[in-house]
Amino acid sequence: MRRSKGERVFDVFNYILLGFLGFCTLYPFLNVLNISLSTPADVAKIGLRILPLNPNFEGYKKIMENTYLLTGYKNTIIRTILGTAVNVFLSAMVAYPLSKKYLPNRNIWISMIIFTMFFSGGLIPSYLLIQKLKLTNTIWSLILPGAISTFNMIIVRNYFMSLPAELEESARIDGANDIRILFSIILPISAPIIATIALWSAVGHWNAWFDALIYITNEKLMVLQVILRKMIVEGSMQYIESTGGSFVYEDGFKPTPDIIKCAAIMVSSLPIIMVYPFVQKYFIQGIMIGSLKG
């Protein structure tokens, strides 16, 4: 198609505008990266530079030795793996019966479950429940309350409903019961949707901070986001300065709290930043499936 002059001008503007959007999205992170790699004296001089003046890794050395951060990282990894496994397992288990049109009182069960998406007891009743169940300061307070994400479960249910009925029928003729059908036949075929909700669940767990904030006070069990919050938002020097080893700095090179905070931000975001471009198609297709009526 031939472009008129006006259209070509528009194209140029469009490319620039979108490029500017990309830049605006990335620049705040570049700024943090910059600070994290700078010497204290250079921090004030960074201005609009993209690259650090004198690359300096002291901040990173300090953050890698930070006992709180390491504990937080470990706890977050454990929580994410355990939480995602529980999520996927339970969501599939509940989605399967609900995907069968012949399930007795199906609408009642579905309504009961969907209702919880729109109304809840609120913060205090949930908090008191966890207290009463003696789950505070355990990893279960982070995993059980969100064990089934109804939205995820509905997505899986919709997917199950789209599978051909012959699969189940032929397995039943061979004598399998529903549980065997689910685990041996349906689940292996549902790999794409399982991947989608696993990824969604993993991101949710990785980024979760509020539940850990209110339910966990034991420093050894805190998750990464809570440690970060204490460093960055609360500015707690105890968390920023704590390290395993001892450090000796040349004059002018001791990293300031700002530098350490920025190093912490980079170290915590790197896993997600590096992974998400490659798995983005799962997230997108999840939205698509989720927005269709079952």
């Binding site: 528009f10 194209d11 469009n14 490319y15 505008l17 979108l18 490029g19 990309g22 605006c24 999205t25 620049y27 992170f29 700024n31 943090v32 960074i46 609009l48 339970l90 288990m93 509940v94 399967y96 019966p97 399930l103 007795p104 069960w109 579905i110 009961m112 969907i114 919880t116 729109f118 109304f119 809840s120 007891g121 609120g122 913060l123 205090i124 009743p125 908090y127 429940l129 059980l144 064990a147 089934i148 509905i154 529903d178 549980i179 689910l182 980024n207 979760a208 901070w209 509020f210 986001q225 970060l228 919050r229 960055i232 938002v233 905070k261 915590s268 930043i273 983005q280 939205i287 009526k293």
Partner: protein
């Protein structure tokens, strides 16, 4: 099984007017086994806390437990509505929600339309991928990022402002600027992700419509106006209705990590207020009452908006 059994079974089945409920459940016992595990979860972690709402109508004392705490009816709500605090908080919630709606609703649509015009697939994909990076990061991290970016002393934004001759702006500390900061950072975080649904809608438009329009002499702008927009109008309408339905909701994550006492007056919203009253000041009953107020309004709005949406098209939330 021989023929006699089969016919006898069929006759009794036909003769039975209503299926025995226990037999039905037993027939599908494996399915119910799977389902019950989920139901136990929902009862414990969703329905039991709903029972806990009763705390809002009592003067709850931890020692006494729920059943023995004294009943005070709607007194908590009376205190809530009489107080100046709550009025501020409610106003902030609505104002911020409206502000965000106006700013964050059109942005992803415009982005989707602009991206649609890009012919170079690699460039389009790259910009798209970059645009939803902020969606995957928590507000804890983003708070750190913006505290640096907007810093009055060393942040790049204020550096530009200072070089233009103005005084530095305390974006996060100045009540005059805080709400705008909330809205701007919110757009920044969500524009990429929210554009996905619009991009998907646009990509499902029949290309023949565009070809026909081109043959009729329409330029790209006219094509966008007459084909693209009307085709995604249903999606836009639904998203708009859903967004309006969550007017009383607030982004606790964002505000809690960005706010400070200096801006409570303009930024304290219902959920942050309920949090402080409940978990910091330990006024459990009052906080539950605040939360209940919000949840009831939110639920009503959802019913209304879902009704409107399902009348408007075949889509509903379920």
């Amino acid at each position: 099984m021989n023929n006699i059994d089969v016919t006898r079974r069929a006759r009794t089945r036909r003769a039975r007017a209503r299926p025995n409920i226990f037999k039905e459940y037993w027939k599908y016992r494996y399915l119910f086994l799977l389902l019950s595990i989920g139901l136990i979860y929902y009862v414990i972690f969703h329905y039991i806390p709903m029972y806990g709402i009763i705390i809002a109508f009592k003067n709850y004392k931890f020692r006494l437990g729920i059943s023995k705490s004294p009943w005070i009816g709607f007194e908590n709500f009376a205190i809530m509505f009489r107080g100046v605090d709550f009025f501020n908080v409610f106003r902030n919630t609505i104002v911020i929600s409206l502000y965000k709606l106006v700013a964050t609703f059109p942005a992803p649509i415009i982005l989707a339309l602009l991206l649609n015009e890009v012919k170079n697939k690699a460039y389009k994909k790259t910009i798209q991928t970059i645009s939803y990076l902020p969606h995957f990061l928590s507000w804890v991290i983003l708070a750190g990022v913006f505290m640096q970016l907007l810093s009055p002393s060393q942040g790049p934004i204020n550096l530009i402002i200072k070089s233009l001759g103005f005084k530095p702006i305390y974006f996060l500390g100045n009540p005059k600027w805080f709400r705008s900061t909330l809205v701007a950072t919110s757009v920044w975080k969500s524009i990429g992700w929210e554009s996905i649904i619009y991009i998907a809608s646009i990509s499902s438009i029949n290309p023949e419509l565009y070809e026909a329009a081109y043959i009729d002499g329409a330029n790209r702008f006219q094509q966008t106006l007459k084909i693209t927009l009307p085709s995604i109008a249903p999606v836009i309408a639904i998203m708009f209705i859903l967004n309006t339905g969550s007017l009383i909701n607030d982004d606790f994550d964002q505000i809690f990590n960005l706010y400070n006492t200096a801006v409570y007056d303009v930024a304290d919203v219902i959920s942050t207020y309920a949090y402080r009253m409940g978990l910091v000041q330990m006024q459990y009953s009052f906080s539950t009452a605040v939360g209940l107020f919000k949840n009831v309004i939110s639920f009503s709005l959802i019913l209304i908006t879902n009704y409107i949406t399902s009348r408007f098209s075949e889509y509903g939330i379920w």
